[in-house]
C-alpha cells in the first residue's frame, strides 16, 4: 500500500506567498525564550521611566524634552520611552532578529532542509523579511503600548500639549503616538533589510547581529560629527529622531517624508542585495 493511497494529499500548487509559512516563521521568532526576554527588556524601559518620574520631585526638568511633559500627560511616557530606546535598544532587537534570519537557519543546518522541501530562495527571503517587518512594528508598538498604559495609570490622560504649545484632544494625541510608532518602525524595518542582507553573508547569527548593531552605532556616530554633514542625509538613523515632528502643530512633514523615503530606499536596496547574494549562493552548511 503506498502513501498515496493512505492519504489524500493536495498536490496543486498554492500561492507563491504562503501565510502558513509566515505564521510558522512568526511562531519560531516569538517562541524563542531569548526573543521574549528581549521584548521584556524593551517593555521594562517605559515602566522605569514612568516610575522614576513619578517618585522624583516635580520640577527637575533636566532630561530630554518629553520627560518634563510626562507629568502633564501620561502619553508622554510612551514618547519618552521611544526616544530612549531609539538609538540602541530597538535597533538591537531588530538586529538580533534580522541577523538570525538566514544565518541562524544556516547555523542549525535547517536551511538545507527548508530549501529541499522546497522553499524557493526568493520566497524564503520574502517570508523572512515579512517576519522582520512585523517584528519591527510589534516591538515598537509594545514599547509605546506599555508606555501609554503606565503613563495613563500614573499621570492620567486628557488633552495633550504639543511641542508647539497648542492643545490637542486626547484622541488626537493617541493618533500622533500611533503615527510615531509607524514612522519609527518603518526605519527599524529598513535596518532589518540591512540585517537580512548581512545574514546571507555568514553562517554565524551572532556575528551578523553584532555587525548590524555596529553599523547602526556607526551611523549615529557619523551623524554626530558635524564635519560629515554632507553624509547625514544619507544615514538611515539620521531621520529617526524626527518622529518628534509629529508632535508639532501643525505636523511638520518635510523631514518625516524624507525619513520615510530613506527607509524605503534602504529596504529595497538591501533586500535586493540579500536576494542577489542568496539566490545563487552555494549552501554547504
Amino acid at each position: 500500500m503506498s502513501a498515496v493511497d493512505v492519504l489524500d494529499v493536495g498536490t496543486t500548487p498554492r500561492h507563491s506567498f504562503s501565510a502558513r509559512f509566515l505564521l510558522s516563521e512568526l511562531k519560531i521568532i516569538y517562541g524563542r525564550r531569548r526573543n521574549l526576554a528581549g521584548l521584556g527588556v524593551l517593555a521594562v524601559v517605559p515602566v522605569i521611566i514612568a516610575i522614576s518620574v513619578r517618585v522624583s520631585s516635580p520640577g527637575t526638568g533636566d532630561g530630554p524634552d518629553f520627560f518634563s511633559a510626562i507629568t502633564g500627560n501620561g502619553l508622554f511616557v510612551a514618547f519618552a520611552a521611544l526616544t530612549v530606546e531609539l538609538p540602541l535598544f530597538l535597533p538591537l532587537a531588530v538586529s538580533a532578529i534580522s541577523g538570525d534570519a538566514v544565518a541562524g537557519e544556516a547555523n542549525l543546518g535547517t536551511l538545507r532542509y527548508l530549501l529541499t522541501i522546497p522553499v524557493e530562495r526568493t520566497r524564503l527571503l520574502v517570508t523572512k523579511y515579512a517576519a522582520i517587518v512585523i517584528f519591527a512594528f510589534a516591538a515598537t508598538g509594545l514599547v509605546a503600548l506599555v508606555g501609554a498604559i503606565m503613563g495613563l495609570a500614573l499621570f492620567g490622560g486628557g488633552a495633550m500639549t504639543t511641542l508647539s504649545g497648542s492643545q490637542v484632544s486626547f484622541g488626537n494625541g493617541v493618533l500622533r503616538l500611533l503615527l510615531s510608532c509607524g514612522y519609527l518602525a518603518a526605519g527599524f524595518a529598513a535596518l532589518g533589510a540591512l540585517g537580512l542582507f548581512v545574514s546571507t553573508l555568514t553562517e554565524q547569527p551572532i556575528g551578523a547581529t553584532i555587525a548590524v548593531v555596529l553599523i547602526n552605532v556607526m551611523m549615529f556616530v557619523c551623524d554626530s560629527i558635524s564635519q560629515l554633514d554632507w553624509l547625514h542625509p544619507w544615514l538611515l538613523t539620521h531621520w529617526w529622531i524626527f518622529f518628534g515632528d509629529l508632535l508639532r502643530d501643525p505636523v511638520a512633514t518635510d523631514n518625516l517624508q524624507r525619513g520615510l523615503i530613506t527607509s524605503a530606499v534602504y529596504a529595497v536596496v538591501f533586500w535586493l542585495a540579500a536576494w542577489a547574494r542568496f539566490s545563487t549562493k552555494d549552501i554547504s552548511s
Binding site: 503506498s2 535547517t110 527548508l114 530549501l115 522546497p118 549552501i283
Partner: protein, 319 residues
C-alpha cells in the same frame, strides 16, 4: 570507468547527470560524473568519506551550483527548475538538522508549512503517519534537543516522508543508529522502494549497501569509478572458487596446473582466483586426478572486494 548495462532509457531515469563537476577553490570535489539512477532502483551511492558523495547530492538537490555539467532530476533541470523536481523528492542531507527547542512534531510542522504543495488540513495526520513510520510517534512531543542521535536520524527520515515522494535521496541514513535501528531503516527503505519510490542512498558502509541495493555507483576521489546493477558489478569483479577436499595438496597442484592464481591451502579446502580459466573445467580435472571433491563453490565477491578491484585501494578516507 567500467561501462555496464543500465536497465532504463536515459530520458526516463529519475536522476541523470552529465559531466557534473564541482570545483572548490583548491580542489575538484566532483569530477565529471555521469550519474544515472534508473526508475525503481535502490541505488547505493558508495564511497569513502571525502570522495564527493555529499557534494554530488547537494548539487542534485540544487543546494550547490555545479561548476560544469548538468543535472536532470525527475525530468527537470536543476537548479533551473528545481522546484518542480524537489516537490516530488524527499531528502535527507548530511545528517539531521532541526530547531533544538522545538519538539519533533513541531519541527516537522515547520517544514510542512514551508511546502506550498502540502495541504494544511492534512498536515497533522501526515506528520503522525511519518513519525509512526520511523517509530518516533511516542517521542513526538519531546524537544529535539533531548533526542538521541538515533532519534534525530529517524526524525530526518520522517521529514522526507511528509509527502508522497517519487524519489528519496538519503545521505547516510543509518549514521548513528544502533544495529537494531539500522535494520529497521533498511527495512523501511525496502518498503518505500516496494511502494514505487526510487531511492538513492549514500553510504560509506559497504555491507549496508550490499544487503539493500539493486544498483550501485562507486565514488572515489571525486570520480564515479563504476555504476550499474549490483550483480553485474559483482560478476565483473575477480571471482574466487573454493574446493572442499581432504587432499588439499593435490587439489592445489591441479588448480595451479589449470592456471588459477593466489591459491591458498586451508585444512579442508583450497581457494584460488579464477582468472581466465573456464569454471566448468575445474571439477572434472580434479576428479580425473583422483582428488575427492567434497564441495565446490564460486565465492560471491563482497563489495569490499569489488571496491578494491575498482580502485586498487582500500576503503579509507580520501584526502
Amino acid at each position: 570507468m567500467t561501462s555496464l548495462p543500465i536497465g532504463e532509457p536515459v530520458d526516463g531515469s529519475p536522476v541523470v547527470t552529465r559531466g557534473l563537476t564541482k570545483r572548490f577553490r583548491h580542489q575538484i570535489a566532483v569530477d565529471d560524473i555521469d550519474l544515472e539512477v534508473p526508475t525503481g532502483a535502490i541505488y547505493g551511492f558508495l564511497g569513502p568519506n571525502g570522495s564527493g558523495k555529499t557534494t554530488t547530492i547537494r548539487m542534485l538537490l540544487g543546494l550547490i551550483r555545479p561548476t560544469a555539467g548538468s543535472v536532470q532530476l525527475l525530468g527537470h533541470a536543476v537548479p533551473g527548475s528545481a522546484t518542480h523536481a524537489l516537490r516530488r523528492v524527499g531528502a535527507l542531507v548530511e545528517g539531521p538538522a532541526f530547531h533544538p527547542y522545538l519538539s519533533g512534531r513541531a519541527n516537522l510542522a515547520r517544514l510542512d508549512a514551508g511546502d506550498r504543495f502540502a495541504d494544511r488540513a492534512t498536515a497533522s495526520k501526515r506528520i503522525d503517519v511519518a513519525l509512526d513510520r520511523v517509530g518516533l510517534l511516542a517521542a513526538a512531543g519531546k524537544r529535539y534537543r533531548a533526542y538521541s542521535l538515533g532519534m534525530r536520524q529517524r526524525l530526518a527520515i520522517a521529514s522526507a516522508l511528509l509527502m508522497p515522494r517519487e524519489l528519496l535521496v538519503l545521505d547516510e541514513p543509518t549514521n548513528g543508529l544502533d544495529p537494531q535501528g539500522t535494520r529497521e531503516v533498511r527495512h523501511l527503505i525496502a518498503n518505500l522502494a516496494a511502494d514505487g519510490s526510487t531511492v538513492l542512498v549514500s553510504s560509506h558502509l559497504l555491507a549496508e549497501v550490499d544487503q539493500l541495493c539493486s544498483h550501485v555507483g562507486v565514488m572515489y576521489e571525486g570520480k564515479l569509478v563504476s555504476q550499474g546493477p549490483l550483480d553485474a558489478l559483482r560478476s565483473s569483479a575477480v571471482k574466487t572458487i573454493q574446493v572442499d577436499t581432504d587432499r588439499v595438496a593435490d587439489a592445489a597442484r591441479v588448480l595451479a596446473e589449470l592456471g588459477l592464481t593466489d591459491i591458498s591451502q586451508n585444512p579442508n579446502s583450497v581457494t584460488g582466483t579464477l582468472g581466465a580459466v573456464a569454471i566448468e573445467k575445474i571439477v572434472p580435472n580434479l576428479v580425473n586426478d583422483d582428488v575427492p571433491v567434497l564441495g565446490f563453490a564460486v565465492l560471491r565477491p563482497n563489495l569490499e572486494d569489488v571496491f578494491v578491484s575498482l580502485t586498487g585501494e582500500g576503503f579509507d578516507v580520501s584526502g
